[in-house]
């Protein structure tokens, strides 16, 4: 009898854990953007090392809390455009790693300047069949001034919704990098781009 109860409770625990993971993966994209950004910002506000401007710690926070919700392969593919096909699988993997590092560093730099701005989240009209959405947010500066619109493009994957672009005041990060990547590849090929990314990250 005891054994049965133990087995049952184990099964129950397992089911709860599975359910929790599934619920997270199935979280609506607008709710996901909100919970992830709030989590990152709450940490930025409460962590003394982040407050002190410890760059390594800020990167750690971004890596742990934000990066899992981005599809870096998708981002790299979009930034590469037609050049993606010219890269070997090994080069594609290296590009993705380097691009991810650059984006994490850049985001960490922006986060270190974060003070007490508020973020307004605009809810999406629910559409269960959507596979690609744009979640709109606005950053309101504490002292007044014009709010800055920040939009997130997300695609539905087997692993839940993943972001693949950030559009700040109309400027798409992926589009901006497409120009940069194109130019680097024109000048030095795919390896030239990898070298430039490594130098930038180093």
């Amino acid at each position: 009898m005891m054994q049965m109860i133990r087995r049952l409770s184990t099964a129950l625990l397992l089911a709860t854990a599975l359910f929790a993971t599934a619920a997270h993966a199935q979280q609506a994209p607008d709710a996901l953007v909100k919970s992830v950004s709030q989590d990152v910002l709450d940490t930025a506000r409460s962590d003394p090392k982040v407050q002190a401007g410890d760059a390594a710690r800020i990167r750690e926070v971004v890596e742990a809390k934000l990066a899992p919700h981005f599809d870096f392969t998708h981002m790299t593919m979009l930034a590469m455009g037609r050049n993606w096909q010219k890269a070997s699988p090994a080069q594609q993997a290296e590009l993705t790693t380097q691009f991810k590092t650059l984006l994490v560093h850049t985001y960490a730099g922006a986060l270190s300047k974060y003070r007490d701005e508020k973020i307004e989240y605009k809810p999406l009209a629910p559409n269960p069949s959507a596979t690609d959405v744009t979640v709109k947010t606005q950053v309101i500066k504490s002292g007044g001034g014009a709010p800055v619109p920040i939009d997130y493009s997300l695609a539905k994957t087997a692993d839940g919704w993943k972001a693949y672009d950030i559009i700040v005041a109309g400027v798409s990060l992926v589009t901006n990098y497409r120009d940069e990547f194109n130019e680097q590849i024109r000048n030095g090929g795919v390896d030239g781009l990898i070298k430039t990314l490594k130098a930038k990250n180093g």
């Binding site: 455009g81 037609r82 650059l102 560093h105 850049t106 730099g109 922006a110 300047k113 002292g143 007044g144 001034g145 014009a146 709010p147 619109p149 005041a169 109309g170 400027v171 798409s172 990060l173 589009t175 901006n176 497409r178 120009d179 940069e180 194109n182 130019e183 680097q184 430039t196 990314l197 930038k200």
Partner: protein, 233 residues
């Protein structure tokens, strides 16, 4: 008045010529020249302008800086309303004129942005966008030291604004120049975070600024709903 008309005609001619000189896929036909200009701009910005703005941020208290930004934004909003009219956008015209009335009155001559606090958002129209709505091409991209990125179309808009802006009517030269100076400081102050973002993010700062500028202008031209862009050749 005749003088004004002549200026407008000359401007229109410049825009047409500028528009034709451009290839269909190239936004930046003067790239070598622009890069040389950027090479002049960057060290001055990094070693002189940037430290100066950091000093301004330290010395001038935050509420005063915000009030200064609000004051100049209020004048921009007035021009936004004028351009809404020129573009035939009555809803935006009402919105922007409403902002100017609220902020100039309740907001103490534009020092407090009450309109944003009650949810009346800025229209962000200018003469460059009006020329775009009227059908002029953006013309070649230009990078001007200390002024920053622009295009022939946007630069022409800026010149129109400079001619007709209210500051030009201030009779005292010292006052007038002080206000121009403060406006320039405020503009650069508002861009400070963007400049450090570019330094973190860009592989090639010149190209990064160019694409960001052109994307931003396209976004504004289409009032936040730009058509999807084809990949460059």
């Amino acid at each position: 008045m005749t003088n004004t008309l002549c200026r407008m005609l000359a401007l229109a001619a410049a825009l047409v010529v500028g528009g034709c000189a451009m290839g269909p896929t190239r936004d930046d036909p003067f790239e070598p020249f622009n890069r040389a200009m950027y090479a002049v701009h960057e060290p001055i910005d990094t070693h002189v302008v940037r430290p100066f703005i950091e000093g301004y941020t330290k010395v001038v208290p935050s509420p005063v800086r915000t009030a200064i930004s609000n004051f100049f934004n209020n004048i921009d909003d007035l021009f936004s309303a004028i351009n809404d009219g020129l573009q035939g956008k009555p809803d935006k015209f009402g919105n922007d004129l409403g902002r100017v009335v609220i902020n100039s009155g309740v907001g103490l001559g534009g020092l407090i942005d009450i309109a944003s606090q009650v949810g009346v958002e800025r229209g962000n129209e200018d003469f460059g966008q009006t020329f775009g709505v009227w059908g002029f091409g953006q013309g070649p991209y230009l990078f001007i030291p200390l002024f920053g990125p622009t295009t022939v179309r946007d630069g022409s808009g800026w010149i129109v604004r400079l001619y007709w802006g209210p500051t030009g009517y201030i009779p005292d030269v010292r006052w007038r120049n002080s206000i121009y100076g403060l406006a320039a400081i405020d503009q650069r102050y508002q861009a400070q975070d963007a400049v450090s973002f570019v330094n973190d993010a860009a592989l090639d700062r010149y190209a990064f600024i160019r694409r960001a500028y052109l994307q931003r202008r396209l976004y504004l031209l289409y009032d936040g709903k730009p058509p999807p862009q084809k990949e460059e050749q």
